[in-house]
């Protein structure tokens, strides 16, 4: 079926590792089909040809860590009909949000030979802290099936199907044996949003929460269980200070561990 319009897509990068943009390139076969129905107007990771805005859909990767980016996201928003954030950086501030718990001025002096060349904000913040966001895709990186689902939904004018349940639901449907119950392996699956396909538990690893908190995460209960499974306070702090350290529930969990005496 020929659709009436061919929406124009732009892909933007803020503070990030480019992994989520790569998930779009990783669509390979589907990417060819996709380009029949959308016009990829601005995607520097893929092509140096950049068409002027406005854009129907902007996919935004990365967090805001500089004053310049705080201004740039306003420009992106202004020329985008729909703005979709992709990945943990854009939706929660990413691993670089660890700076929110530290002293950026000290980092700058310790790390750089010429710290005066570095112009940065003291925080890494999600895109939604700066501009209205129409849809957020979780993950570090995002799941390509979910990305295609979002694009397909936008093309068809329907709501995308993005469950906000726990990773446990995917584990059980996939037939993974629960690593926490059967091995005593600490796992963030019960408080982490699904969408990855429960990859880590499928390989006998605990979930490390790269899709961020579920719709209604019960952190205190899980944290207590992690303690029973042998995680000390420092470990309970660090386990929540990864890609989604800046998400409010994970932040609260790590701060609670910190206040309880966990190593910083």
């Amino acid at each position: 079926m020929a659709r009436k319009t061919r929406p124009r897509i732009a892909v933007w990068k803020f503070a990030s590792c480019d992994g989520c943009q790569l998930s779009l390139l990783d669509c390979e076969e589907e990417l060819l089909t996709l380009t029949e129905f959308v016009e990829i107007a601005n995607f520097r990771e893929a092509t140096s040809t950049v068409l002027e805005g406005p854009y129907d859909i902007s996919l935004v990767e990365g967090s805001v860590t500089t004053l310049e980016d705080a201004r740039r996201i306003q420009e992106v928003r202004a020329q985008s009909r729909l703005l979709v954030t992709i990945g943990a950086c854009a939706t929660a501030g990413g691993i670089q949000a660890l700076r929110n718990f530290g002293n950026v001025e000290e980092f700058r002096r310790a790390v750089y030979a010429r710290p005066e060349y570095i112009s940065t904000l003291s925080t890494s913040t999600p895109i939604a802290d700066h501009v209205p966001v129409d849809l957020e895709l979780r993950g570090c990186p995002i799941n390509k099936r979910q990305l295609l689902e979002v694009l397909s939904a936008l093309l068809d004018g329907r709501a995308p199907n993005l469950p906000t349940e726990s990773v446990c639901a995917e584990c059980k449907r996939r037939g993974n044996v629960c690593v926490m119950v059967a091995r005593g392996t600490p796992c963030l699956g019960p408080v982490t949003q699904s969408g990855c396909g429960a990859i880590c538990p499928a390989y006998d690893r605990g979930c490390y929460g790269c899709f961020g908190p579920t719709e209604t995460p019960n952190l205190p209960s899980l944290v207590a269980r992690l303690g029973e499974l042998g995680m000390d306070r420092g470990q309970r702090l660090r386990v929540f200070r990864t890609y989604n350290a800046g998400s409010p529930p994970f932040r609260a969990a790590s701060e609670a561990a910190h206040e309880a005496g966990g190593a910083p």
Partner: protein
Amino acid sequence: MSAEGDRYVLSRKDVSRLLEQLHQRGYTVLAPRVHEAALVYGEIRSVEELPSGWTDRQEGGTYRLERRSDDALFGYNVGPDSWKKYLFPAHEKLWTARRTAEGFEVEESRKTGPRYAFLGVRACEIAAMHIQDRVFGGPYADPGYQARRTGALIIAVQCGQAGNTCFCVSMKTGPRVTQGFDLSLTELLDGNDHRFLLEVGSERGAEIAESLHLPVAPPKDVRAAGELLDRTAAAMGRTLRTDDLHELLLGSPEHPHWEEIAQRCLSCTNCTLACPTCFCSTTEEVPELDGTKVERWRRWDSCFTLGFTQLGKSSVRRSGASRYRQWLTHKLASWQDQFGSSGCVGCGRCITWCPVGIDLTVEVPVLRTGARSKSSEGTAKP
């Protein structure tokens, strides 16, 4: 001719002959195997794949595989999954719609699949199948479930031991398998004489038993099997008083204990998906990018998700307390009104596979303290 109720001796080495007979008849044989760190149902081609000498140790939120001191083939209790995953699969394509010049045409998914032989079905699991039969039968029968269920051969195993989270005696579903099986096995381990009492439960089972040309079971084996089941029944790890459950649960919607449970409950869905009777599902459309085709899939859902009660932009059961209350009240009480039986078979999976070990046999008695009191504090919010 073999008939229902006939009993034979199946030696340990004859188990492979039984498997051969099943394979010859075209069955896909599914049985417990050691998989990852648990005993999980899956296809077996030979008797060597059965978990000889393995057992499990279960507690609230804990499951461990351990070695036995003998070579028992069925010396353990139920694991993380149930036969539900074959009869009511986690994902099932219902139909495909294709765009045509006039509109669209719908093609229903094929309802035939492999013929299953379930080997090692416990009494509680047969009870669970009978419960799901009522859910997926009746006036709105599910054709896929029906086809898989009627085709499936049930080879039961009588439980030679009780699990630590088992309470089938309380739920009157076990440990003795008395109905709903084609063949049943009771494992008898007397030193070097490792054998099974094989009982015929149906015509289909009789035909298979006949083909094995087995000796008739002596009275001592029948007696030994009976005694084994008596010992299992006396060793249940958990108990649950059931006589008042209907009134208790339906009379306790505002009991403060729901809020207390919600402090621990992760709303992670594990209990419902591990449960052999929970049947909730949702459907989703999976379209092709080019807009020419869409598939409708059904997948397991859970009353612990917000999406389960989403109406418009919001959900009806927003609090963890209201979701746990819904699950337990349905399972133990309103299920009786809906389907004529309890929804719980006492298998203990929801206890073992809850990551934080919430145990309904502990929670229900708390509801009896101060039930029907209208507490103004701690009321379960929507």
